[in-house]
Structures are given as C-alpha cells and as structure tokens.
Amino acid sequence: MDKTILDIWVGLFVAIGIAALMGLAMRVGNLTSNTLGETYTITANYENIGGLKPRAPVKSSGVVVGRIDKIQFDTQAYQAVVTLKIDKRYPFPKDTFANIYTSGLLGEQYISLEAGGDDHFLKEGDRVSKTQDAVVLEKLISQFLYSKASEESKK
C-alpha cells in the first residue's frame, strides 16, 4: 500500500483517539470543573462529619468555592479536623459558619460556608470556630420520637 495513504490513515486513527480522550476528559469527566486557582487553607473541627469525604466540594450560597483537602482525627479533643482549600478569590470573614449539609436526600455531603459580618478575613491556617455537624438520620428520628412521646405524656 502507498506509504502516504498509510500515514494518513494512521494519523487519522491517532487523532480520533486523542479526540475521544479529550471528550472523555472534558465532557464525561470533571477535569475542567476541578481546577481551583491559588488556594488558602483553613481548618474546621467537628464532633461528627457523617459521610464527608476528601475532595468533596466546599460551597457558599451553592457555588463551589473550594474543596476538602484532608480529614484527620484529633486525639486530644476527640474531634474530626477537616482541612479546606479555598480559592484565593473568595475571602471569608472570621465569623463564618462552616456547616455540613447533604445535597439532596441521599446525595453526597459537602461543607457550606455562610459568611458572617466580621471585618477581619480568614487567613492561611486559621481555624473556623463556628461549625455545625452533619445531621445523623438516626439521631434525628430518635429526637423526633422522644419529643412525640413527651407530647403524648403531657396530654
């Protein structure tokens, strides 16, 4: 077979392969939405993080502003220490709330930042003091049953 035709076919084959890979990366995968610019790191302590996982999103008003870097366990306080990487473009006040929420009924868990009114902003390595734990369904149900039972007994 003619050598140039062979080259053209093989070139086309490789080009289609690269195009498919790019399609998988951009369209199917999350390569584009994953890139944070420069980040700063803050930590937050929780009694219970529920099913929170590293690389889960950190959102504020529903917009992704960062990602969870790592989750450790503090043996002094017996608390979970979550390290968050936040995009440098989004400064948050010192009295920001960091709450763990669930997207949807059974979806993945994420941390929501709710800005306070402090004039000072969080800096690299700061700790968010105002946190709210993940909601554990069993606790919620038992609270509900307990309050129902106490209502019944009052009647």
Binding site: V10, L12, R27, G29, N30
Partner: protein, 262 residues
C-alpha cells in the same frame, strides 16, 4: 505403570510445560523490548502495523461500542426508573464503560480481530521458513517482525479503548435522551460530577495499556512458537484467543482490586 503414577506424571508434565511456555514467552517479551529501538528507528514498519491492527479494528470497535452503550442505557433505565433516579443513567453508562467495559471488551475484540491475524501471519511466516531466511541474511526476525507488531498493538489498544468508551457514551446518550426522554442537561451534568478524570479515565487507560501488552505478546508468542504446519498454525490461532481472553479477564480483576483499594 501404576495408573496413579500415570495421572501424577501427566499433571506434572502439564505444569512443567506451562511454566516452560511462560518462561519462553517472557524471554520473547524481553528480547522484544531490547530490540524495540529498531522498530522506532524504522518507524514506517510500526506505522504499517498500526494500520493493520489499529485502523482495521476501528469498525468492529465502533459498532460494538455503540450497541454496548445503547444496551447499557436501556438496561440501566429499566432498573433506575424503579428508584426514581433515571437521571443518573449517564453516570451508570459512563462509569461502566470507562472502568470496565471499555478496556475489557476492546481487549477481547482486539484479541479476536488483530491477535489472531498476528498469530496466523507469524505462524505462516515460520511454516514457510521466512523467519529462518531472515536469520540467514543476518536480519533479526525479532527486530524486523515481532517488535514493530508489539509496539503497534501497545499503541493501538489505549486509543481503541478511548474510542470505545466515547462511542459507548454516545450510544447511551442516544437511547437515554432522544428515545427515552431523560433530561439532556441532567444526563451530562450528573455524569460530569460523578466521573473523576484521574480515578476513572486514567485508570481505564492504564488498564487498556496493560491489556495491550498482554494480548499482543500472547499473539506474537503463539505465532512464533507455533509448530510449522497447517494444523499447528490453526491451533496456535485458537490458543491466542483463549489465552488472551482468560489473561485479560484475570488481569482485569487484579488491576481493579489494586485501583479500588485506596
């Protein structure tokens, strides 16, 4: 002789011959790697083989990927719809294709389409004493025949697997969105959120690369080792398909357990 001894010696014979074949296949693999600089210096040899193994396999890969994607879409929809989450059909199709079906089915089809061709070609070259003739002319058949085919297979397989996954996702899209009526935006956005580039796409590529090495070297070894008769070549071709398929499925389990462990 005692029949028990006969059975035992039979088993021992089988095991030693398997190990012997594994060893000589490894030797061929090492020789191929040593001579691989030759196949890149004469790049047109490798390009010619990429044409025959990669480009010629394109049609069977694309058609089967399309149908696999459509079937995944349909089957996924019937089950997911019971739980009211038919939007996550995109995630199901994409993850199934990227992690498992893309690399594995591509490797199985590759073994059937390109592996057999390689085995038959080299077996026939051996039977007609073309390989010995090359050696007589002081041309190493491993550098000239084996190595270009090996690299062609190794390069083609990840490309074919990427094309398989992408076409499969398109097949799933075609069934889910226009035919069944899943929301277009939800299909892509759910897929986007749940498919990770590093974990899913790159691991799929690593898998297909490993399968490419395994399938090609098995096909080459079976051809190189085939008894130089018509029957020998036909048996070698059959063995290529059987051994490649089993190796791919076994390797898939091992690779998956390593990739999913962290």
């Amino acid at each position: 002789m005692n029949p028990i001894f006969k059975i035992l010696s039979n088993i021992g014979n089988q095991v030693t011959s398997r190990i012997w074949r594994l060893g000589s296949a490894t030797r061929l693999f090492c020789l191929t790697l040593i001579y691989s600089s030759e196949s890149f210096r004469r790049i047109h040899l490798t390009i010619r083989e990429i044409y025959f193994t990669g480009v010629m396999s394109l049609i069977i890969i694309v058609v089967s990927a399309f149908f696999v994607g459509m079937v995944l879409g349909l089957q996924g929809y019937y089950t997911l719809q019971k739980y009211g989450s038919s939007e996550s059909i995109g995630v199901l199709v994409a993850l199934a294709l990227l992690r498992e079906l893309g690399p594995v089915v591509t490797a199985l089809l590759f073994a059937g389409r390109a592996g057999t061709a390689i085995t038959a070609e080299i077996g026939l070259m051996k039977a007609t004493e073309q390989l010995s003739a090359m050696e007589m002319m002081a041309i190493s058949p491993i550098a000239r025949i084996i190595s270009p085919r090996f690299w062609a297979g190794v390069i083609s397989m990840p490309i074919l697997a990427s094309i398989f996954s992408m076409v499969g996702v398109m097949g799933g899209y075609l069934v889910a969105v226009p035919i069944i009526g899943v929301d277009h935006g939800a299909f892509w956005s759910q897929m986007n959120v749940n498919v990770d580039f590093r974990i899913d796409v790159i691991n799929g590529l690593i898998k297909s690369f490993v399968f490419g090495v395994a399938c090609t070297i098995i096909a080459l070894y079976e051809g190189y080792d085939a008894p130089p008769t018509a029957e020998g070549v036909s048996r070698a071709t059959t063995r290529t398909v059987v051994t490649s398929s089993l190796t791919v499925l076994g390797l898939d389990f091992i690779l998956t357990s390593f990739m999913m462990s962290n």
